[in-house]
């Protein structure tokens, strides 16, 4: 069942066994939690930055907001290349062809 990966190996069944062990450990910790917990109280309501409205949804555009904003300067630069103009698409093909020629003719 073991796959050799060059420097090491990978055995998914071993991983599953380890994951099962961790799950059992987590369940044991959970089972030792407080018994006086009461269901159906305010403590069960989701807390979304002070948002009390029931049914509030964190949409796709809001999740990982800080992460996405942090990457935005890099992504915006990349976005400039994605103009949607077919002329630019062909232009990039010509550029890459020039690089390839340079490598196969000069570098090779």
């Amino acid at each position: 069942m073991t796959l050799l990966t060059g420097h090491g190996f990978w055995n998914p069944l071993l991983w599953l066994a380890a994951a099962a062990g961790v799950t059992v450990l987590a369940l044991v910790v959970w089972a030792r939690g407080r018994r006086d917990y009461t269901r159906g109280t305010d403590g069960e309501l989701p807390f979304l930055s002070g948002e009390k409205m029931e049914g509030a949804h964190v949409g796709g555009g809001h999740l990982y907001w800080g992460f996405v904003e942090g990457l935005r300067p890099y992504v915006e630069r990349l976005r400039l290349f994605h103009t949607g103009l077919v002329n630019d698409y062909v232009g990039w093909l010509v550029v890459i062809l020039a690089v390839v020629f340079l490598i196969v003719l000069v570098g090779g």
């Binding site: 796959l3 060059g6 990978w10 949409g59 555009g61 990039w92 062809l97």
Partner: protein
């Protein structure tokens, strides 16, 4: 008729003729068309499996069109002038991927496509695309490769522009058509140069003649340019998100397999045709483009709000992993054959894993679009309440694509990380970074579309669509839990065929 001997050509002819007959059956009755499609798809898949079994058990299969006996590629004292099909383990592997994706796609399309939206046209073009892919995988003739390259291009563009009632589909098809045409002309020009120099088109014969002259190198540059474009390597990928985003879901998974077939053609050119002139500089070029592809596409996926385009950028990034794996192999295999081979195995294994995982994601996106009526993450939410199976399939596909153990993407990515580490730790770090980005992207997409309170009441997803997604989900689990079996029996022979099998390939065709 000896079916086994003629299986390679029948695997191409059956879907090719079957595709053209589909509209005729549809004119009589839609049920007859569907029955015909079942017959053609089952026949083609069975023939592909038969070819693969023959290749994996008996070695390379050569089929010569028009010869007295299919294995007679060369007349005594002459050289191969007829069209030759030469199927080795890698060709058979690609044929199996195409068969899996096509059969799943047709099952999905049964209830996904509406009759009044041109279902017959989509099924015809899908079957034609399948025939073209098998032709590209099985051919041993360079000009034939170009012909099937064009067959796949025409069918693919028709599928991308399928939704003629919106302007975006035809626009994406036009852009793709321009790129495919320019790339195809590069390939044709390269073939013309080689034909002018050596007077031959047979791949094995040319591989033996090529001496590395300036003309040979110009031809190599043109072939690389054309095939890298069709494989969707950055920065030649820009047509791909447009195309994947606009084509119907069952067609997108065929388009993904089509990019992989182009990648196969690229590897065939680098290892078999130009294998005698193995050049680390070209290996480094493939590595650089692979790294750029996986990183740029993952970064672009981060800011996508359209679920289809988000998955499309994910699909482009996976091409980067395949290029990285095989590029590392090309660079180090002469000096460190053991690691080079692992890298190539990782790249090839990732093709199968990608076809299954990204295929599942595209089908899930199609189900969301059909059920909820849109794909905008800003408007979607809570679909998991009603679309439980689709939500599960999307999550499974996302985790597999991001390389989370024990799913299938992890095994092939681990092979690529470890072997690229040998070339440079920076490459491994960038490849892992891209996987982390993809995980974040797909967790965001899953949360946005499927979790949270119910925002709408989606239509139920038809059972055939769920069955098609279920098959790919089972594939993800099976490939993830038993990667060693897949690598040993399917991937290893395919990787060996690419590197060690060059002489075998040449001998099988040329007989000496």
């Amino acid at each position: 008729m000896n079916l086994a001997a003629h299986a390679p050509i029948l695997a191409i002819v059956v879907p090719l003729l079957g595709a053209f007959a589909l509209p005729l059956w549809a004119k009589l009755h839609k049920l007859l068309r569907d029955l015909w499609l079942v017959l053609v798809a089952a026949g083609t898949a069975a023939l592909t499996v038969l070819v693969a079994v023959q290749v994996y058990t008996a070695g390379i299969q050569v089929y010569t069109l028009g010869a007295a006996w299919p294995r007679d590629a060369v007349a005594p004292g002459g050289f191969p002038i007829r069209i030759v099909l030469a199927v080795d383990a890698l060709s058979a592997f690609m044929g199996l991927i195409a068969a899996l994706v096509a059969v799943v796609g047709f099952v999905y399309a049964w209830r996904y496509l509406a009759e009044d939206e041109g279902k017959t046209l989509a099924l015809t073009l899908g079957t034609l695309l399948w025939a073209g892919m098998l032709g590209m995988a099985f051919t041993g003739d360079l000009f034939n490769l170009f012909v099937f390259f064009e067959v796949t291009s025409i069918a693919a563009c028709g599928l991308i522009g399928y939704r003629t009632w919106s302007s975006r589909g035809p626009e994406a098809a036009f852009k793709t058509m321009v790129m495919y045409t320019v790339g195809g002309l590069f390939v044709l020009l390269a073939i013309a140069l080689l034909y002018g120099e050596y007077g031959a088109l047979n791949l094995a014969h040319l591989a033996r003649l090529i001496q590395g002259t300036t003309v040979d190198r110009i031809a190599l540059g043109l072939l690389l340019g054309g095939l890298l474009m069709k494989a969707g390597a950055v920065p030649l990928h820009m047509w791909a998100p447009d195309a994947y985003g606009e084509a119907p879901a069952q067609a997108v998974i065929l388009l993904v397999a089509n990019t992989q077939i182009s990648l196969y053609a690229l590897f065939r050119v680098l290892f078999t045709l130009y294998g005698g002139l193995a050049d680390p500089a070209i290996g480094w070029l493939v590595v650089a483009l692979g790294t750029l592809t996986l990183l740029v596409a993952a970064l672009m996926a981060v800011v996508q709000m359209d679920l289809g385009r988000l998955v499309a950028f994910g699909a482009v990034s996976q091409i980067g992993y395949m290029l990285l794996g095989v590029g590392v192999g090309l660079t180090v295999i002469a000096a460190r054959p053991a690691y080079g081979l692992v890298a190539i195995q990782g790249g090839i294994f990732h093709m199968l894993n990608d076809a299954v995982a990204i295929g599942l994601l595209f089908l899930a996106v199609g189900a969301v679009e059909k059920a909820a009526g849109n794909r905008n993450l800003g408007n979607l939410g809570g679909l998991g309440h009603d679309l439980k199976w689709t939500a599960g399939f999307f999550l499974l596909g996302s985790l597999a694509l991001a390389g989370i153990p024990p799913l299938n993407g992890f095994a092939s990515k681990l092979m690529i990380y470890q072997s690229s580490f040998l070339l440079s730790p920076i490459l491994s770090a960038l490849a892992i970074l891209a996987s982390i980005l993809l995980l974040a992207v797909f967790v965001k997409a899953f949360q946005g579309a499927f979790l949270g309170p119910k925002l709408s009441r989606p239509e139920p997803v038809p059972v055939p669509m769920l069955v098609a997604m279920g098959v790919l989900a089972l594939g993800i689990l099976a490939l993830g839990l038993f990667p060693n079996l897949v690598v040993r029996y399917l991937v290893m022979p395919a990787a060996d065929a690419l590197w060690k099998g060059r002489d075998l390939y040449l001998r099988a065709v040329l007989g000496r």
